[in-house]
């Protein structure tokens, strides 16, 4: 994912498709991205195929306010596999054909219906696995879902809210333990 650099011409010549978009102003992603414009180059899939797979991914895990840029990472991952393996590319193209015409622009219930019909296919299972594997592992997803990620570099959560929940009673000391540095032992 390149969120801001212009695409070098030499690299552009090697790409087969391109997914682009503009982040909504004020979205969590816009706050962490260097620029609101984003582009993902595809090495094996065409732009139309990429758009279709992006909507497959969004239909599998719909998060309405999560930007297309996040789903484009899934397509990028699928495309990278297809670029290295002709059988994967053929499998993806066969799957896209089975989805029928205009999948990417069909309303959600129709997209769900078409995906349900091929749920047992390796195409669908690949797209589901790739979506679960790639969609939630990016800084964009961390920001969207409010996940703070690693804390070792900041001294852990010990003094950064690991026990800040106030809507339930505190646990008696005999069933928990002292917070280091806050008395007790």
């Amino acid at each position: 994912m390149d969120l801001d650099r212009p695409i070098p011409r030499r690299q552009f010549l090697k790409t087969t498709g391109l997914l682009t978009g503009v982040l909504a102003a004020g979205s969590p992603l816009a706050l962490i991205a260097p620029s609101r414009a984003w582009a993902v180059e595809l090495k094996a899939l065409t732009t139309a195929e990429g758009r279709t797979l992006l909507m497959v991914s969004r239909t599998i895990c719909p998060h309405d306010k999560l930007e297309d840029a996040a789903y484009a990472v899934v397509v990028q991952s699928v495309d990278a596999d297809a670029a290295g393996d002709a059988r994967t590319l053929a499998m993806l193209r066969a799957g896209i054909r089975r989805l029928g015409a205009h999948f990417a622009t069909a309303p959600e219930p129709e997209r769900v219906r078409r995906l349900k019909a091929i749920e047992s296919s390796s195409f669908f299972q690949t797209m589901r696995t790739q979506t679960l594997g790639a969609l939630y592992a990016t800084p964009m997803a961390y920001a969207y879902f409010g996940y703070q990620g690693e804390a070792f570099s900041k001294g852990g959560y010990l003094y950064r809210g690991f026990n800040d929940l106030k809507w339930l009673p505190e646990v008696p000391l005999e069933d928990s333990g002292p917070v280091p540095g806050q008395g007790g032992t």
Binding site: H63, Y147, Y157, L165, D175, T185
Partner: protein, 522 residues
């Protein structure tokens, strides 16, 4: 580093450097016994552990191919990952969560306690509980287990507060932050836990006990340890008298090497341990080494498991804090009126966001599925750890159709779930839902069985040679200078996370090996 010659037949060769292999290496070398420790994986450190969950999984996990079959839902849900173990110096003590509960006295008498349950191969352990208890106490001191020997418990995280309140509301009495080999205060030259929540990625503070940075460096400091990393054992050789003589392995360049041995100790976790014994088949031992009883690979157990998540209205931020620091002990009882024999632990659990989406959820997709992830900030979590019943047909065999990078048949795991296991999991899921409902959850979801991190039983101890693979000290009934050190020895699993029991048995085994060597028995 100490170098031991390949033809030095005085060496004890230990295969695997995890909870058992790493600890045994320390125990033997501190007694002056020369040890060659073979480890298939690489060596990481606090500095090289990564905080990117997917990268950590790739860095630490045993990803060599394995195949599987059976009615277990893991076969469909995780086709390429039947079990979740490590390939790295320190073995599974690098990714473990640090939970160190003890087995209960009645759990090591499963055959006597549960009776003759159809479709099982239950057995009693050939060890008296009082004796096991002595070694538990030593292991707990070694690992600095919380709530034992005056070591304070870990503090309560947000996730634990939800678990505690719910458990108390439905009447559970024994609920606390667990017996954990994670420092609640500085100890053993290691830091205290800073509640960072990255236990399974490798603990970057070293607060969590791991042989990687406790037992193994101490063994190295004795000057008697030759640790060989990226060395994959492929075969144990024996002489005409049937005694083990050498371990054949591939070094990091893929070149075949042979280390002579006075004693061979197999500590490869309960999938690879039987695989190595089966790969060591010979004219004298056509069914594999130590397998005259035909029990090698059988009685594979892995614990009834699964996640339970409560979705609440308010933030919990369960990723903040020690991953598994919380336990409910009330269901660790044998009460057949519940509809099953054996007991289970309910343990606190949280997952980082990528892992939550990938392995933490029931199979699904679409709106209902994605809405669980939308609630990620507001989830509280539990993990079930319960006793699954031993079955002789649940077993590890060699899959001769699929070869690893060295051209050797991979391990095949067959698991048919016993109805008792299913009933136990359903009971635990119901109890978990009651707990979370009692404190205002608006939705509770649970998963099916997840890939086993607790693998046991595949080279079981037995008093009678025809009923098992090793004696009560892990010594092969057939080959006197061959030992099994890991959870493969367990006749049955009980419901406790296995690492403490593995370390306790290892401390006991080391004393036995020293006695046998001194008496020139081996």
């Amino acid at each position: 580093m100490t170098a031991i010659a390949h033809d030095d037949a005085r060496a004890v060769v230990i295969v695997g450097s995890g909870a058992s292999g790493g600890t045994l290496a320390h125990e033997l070398t501190r007694r002056g016994i020369p040890v060659v420790l073979l480890e298939a994986g690489k060596r990481q450190s606090l500095a090289t552990f990564t905080q990117v969950p997917g990268d950590a999984f790739a860095q630490l996990t045993w990803l060599d191919p394995r195949t599987q079959s059976g009615t277990s839902t893991v076969v469909q849900d995780y086709p390429t990952l039947p079990s979740w173990t490590c390939k790295t110096v320190g073995g599974t003590t690098v990714h473990w969560t640090g939970a160190t509960p003890r087995l209960r006295p009645w759990e090591i008498k499963a055959r006597t306690t549960y009776g003759d349950v159809a479709g099982t191969s239950l057995a009693d352990w050939p060890i008296a509980y009082d004796e096991l208890l002595r070694y538990y106490e030593r292991a707990e001191r070694r690992m600095v287990t919380t709530r034992r020997n005056g070591v304070p418990g870990l503090p309560a995280s947000n996730n634990f507060k939800v678990m505690y309140a719910g458990a108390k509301k439905i009447g559970y009495k024994q609920v606390h932050t667990g017996y954990m080999a994670i420092n609640s205060r500085p100890a053993d030259g290691r830091a205290f836990c800073i509640q960072q929540g990255f236990c399974v990625q490798g603990c970057k503070t070293g607060a969590k006990w791991s042989t990687l940075y406790t037992e193994i460096p101490r063994a190295e400091a004795t000057g008697h340890l030759d640790l060989r990393i990226e060395c994959m054992a492929t075969r144990i050789e024996h002489g005409p008298d049937g005694h083990a003589t050498a371990v054949v392995y591939r070094d990091r360049e893929g070149k075949e090497q042979r280390q002579k041995a006075r004693i061979v100790c197999v500590a490869c976790n309960a999938v690879e341990t039987p695989r190595l014994l089966l790969l060591s088949e010979s004219g004298k031992f056509p069914r594999g080494l130590a397998n005259s009883s035909d029990q090698v690979g059988r009685n594979y157990v892995h614990h009834v498991g699964g996640f339970i998540w409560g979705l609440f209205e308010k933030p919990i931020e369960s990723w903040r804090g020690t991953t598994l620091a919380g336990i409910i002990e009330d269901e660790i009882v044998n009460r057949p009126q519940r509809g099953f024999v054996g007991g289970y632990h309910l343990e606190l659990c949280a997952l980082d966001l990528p892992s939550f989406a990938q392995v933490g959820l029931p199979y699904g997709w679409g709106r209902s599925f994605a809405s669980i992830i939308d609630d990620y900030r507001n989830i509280a979590g539990l993990f079930i750890t319960g006793e699954d019943l031993s079955r002789s047909t649940n077993r590890i065999t060699l899959d001769r159709r699929v070869k690893d990078a060295h051209g050797l048949p991979v391990a095949h795991i067959h698991v048919d779930e016993h109805p008792n296991d299913t009933a136990m999991r359903t009971h635990a899921q119901t109890q978990g839902a009651k707990m979370y409902d009692a404190v205002g959850a608006r939705r509770v979801v649970h998963t099916r069985q997840t890939p086993a991190a607790h693998n046991m039983g595949t080279a079981r101890m037995s008093a009678r040679p025809e009923e098992g693979v090793v004696n009560a000290y892990g010594q092969s009934h057939d080959v006197k200078n061959l030992f099994v050190c890991d959870g493969s020895q367990f006749p049955t699993p009980g419901s406790a996370n296995p690492t403490l029991t593995i370390v306790a048995l290892t401390l006991r085994q080391a004393e036995y090996i020293e006695r046998q060597m001194s008496a020139h028995e081996i």
